[in-house]
Point group: C2
Chain length 261, copies 2
DNA sequence: CGTAATTTTGACTCCGCTCAATTGGCGTGG
DNA sequence: CCACGCCAATTGAGCGGAGTCAAAATTACG
């Protein structure tokens, strides 16, 4: 809701600006600047002033479309840029020597991808599109350069990295000390919260990932995930129809999350 | 907390002075500068030049001793500084509503603590000393400031944050898709590798943490950890005596780690 | 429209947990 | 110095939650 309102006002502001969009070269006509992007408040430019935002425009080097099932990058790829998701869902995953895959996260519009490559110069994980996606390509050399000019950007980059660490610790807690039901409840409530920020329904949504991928993320087998969905439905917490989920009883789910047994 | 503020003003005064370290008051005589610290190559100043190292000295503006069992910081504490461990081992842990604790890591000399506070302004976890410890206090405002002057420091800070994310993903893989034996093998081999970097024995060491803490970190119960130690000993992989461990067969441990079953 | 992929459900198994008792190590105080 | 108490670690017995294997149902996609 909030995001929608911001988006609209931003558009209006821009259309009354001295340099209307229509006068820009055609190539850019359908492209959205950071300043006009409805995702900016949850993306890298979060909290920047107008002038700083303008400087940021130079950061978005290009946009890239990634088809469902394709990889934005793969483990071992040379690290050159981080990516801001504009459209679509991704999963990131590590693969262990043998076939085993560990999904390390699901990312949605406004979130950043590729941070795992900063430290070593090569990506550590695969980022695969769960549906047709579009990302902004932010060459990391530029990010560093502009960070030096805009302390707010520097601070925010640090924040994003730090928050990713905190998020990962939360997942470690989930994997290390929660039972299967709790894990799924936490997962669903987390999705719900992130959907709200994007102005989408908190309780009615479409899972872009398979049971297997959810299971991998939660340290469970797909059969267990499927059984839990059925159980939650039987308990009146959810209505599940394949990938479509409706949370029928948020409070109930939260109780499952908190329940020691 | 009060001490931090006092120190900050003291530091500013000092940083404006152009006096060489040698002329500083005796209080500093027994203190080790970054340039002279044997941990510098695995700590924040990694890869910095001599001149940059000198600038870094201003960063460490106090040292702090933490007794075994005491907390360096606790979840919820205001975030003001990051810490570089000079002496001793720490654990970091999250605690869940009820009594449940999830150990998120074990840190040793040369490693940084407190990165989890950058994003939110408050620490997310507890950092508790597993033995008598000493840390360098690096006020984060100063870190940011000096980062702007020394791009190498900025780059390295980003690297450290990114590598922490990659490390956490490794733990997620461990918790999400490895069996108990593999987890303990990975844990021991990881410790061994980090000990080597510090010039300690790769195969003969003293665990500073309890079976319960190891279990929490690995998503296992202490009894399971204890049983695994006994089993590894029976299999000729280890010699275990309470907290003292000798790895008798590194190759064997690596095979346990890789084994699908 | 047909084939492959995904999901659901059941039956059974087993790894790691729970509960419980015992041993061992270590610091404290008599 | 030893005795005591406390905490950590070990070990056993039995259980249960999630995994495995298998088959059927449903859906997605070329």
């Amino acid at each position: 809701m909030q995001a929608v309102i911001d988006f609209q006002s931003a558009r209006r502001t821009q259309s009354t600006a001295s340099l209307p969009t229509a006068s820009l070269p055609n190539a850019r006509k359908f492209e959205v600047t950071c300043a006009a992007c409805n995702l900016r408040e949850m993306c890298l430019p979060q909290g920047l002033s107008g002038a700083e935002l303008q400087r940021m425009e130079n950061l978005v080097y290009s946009r890239r479309k990634v088809k469902r099932g394709e990889a934005l990058f793969r483990a071992g790829d040379k690290f050159a840029a981080i990516y801001a998701i504009r459209v679509g869902f991704f999963k990131t995953a590590l693969l262990h020597g043998d076939g085993r895959e560990q999904v390390t996260g699901f990312q949605m519009p406004g979130e950043l991808l590729g941070l795992d490559g900063i430290g070593s110069g090569a990506h550590a994980s695969n980022a695969v599109a769960l549906e047709d996606c579009e990302v902004c390509v932010l060459p990391f050399g530029l990010v560093e350069e502009i960070s030096r000019e805009i302390p707010g950007l520097q601070r925010h980059l640090n924040s994003v990295l730090s928050r990713e660490i905190v998020r990962d610790h939360g997942v470690m807690m989930l994997l290390g000390s929660m039972r299967a039901e709790e894990r799924l409840a936490v997962f669903l409530l987390n999705l719900s919260k992130r959907f709200i920020r994007r102005g989408w329904s908190a309780s009615d949504f479409h899972l872009r990932m398979t049971r297997d991928e959810i299971g991998s993320y939660l340290g469970l087998k797909l059969e267990t995930v499927s059984r839990l969905f059925s159980k939650f439905q039987a308990d009146g917490l959810l209505e599940v129809n394949q990938k479509h989920v409706r949370i029928a009883d948020i409070g109930g789910l939260e109780k499952v999350m908190g329940a020691v047994h």
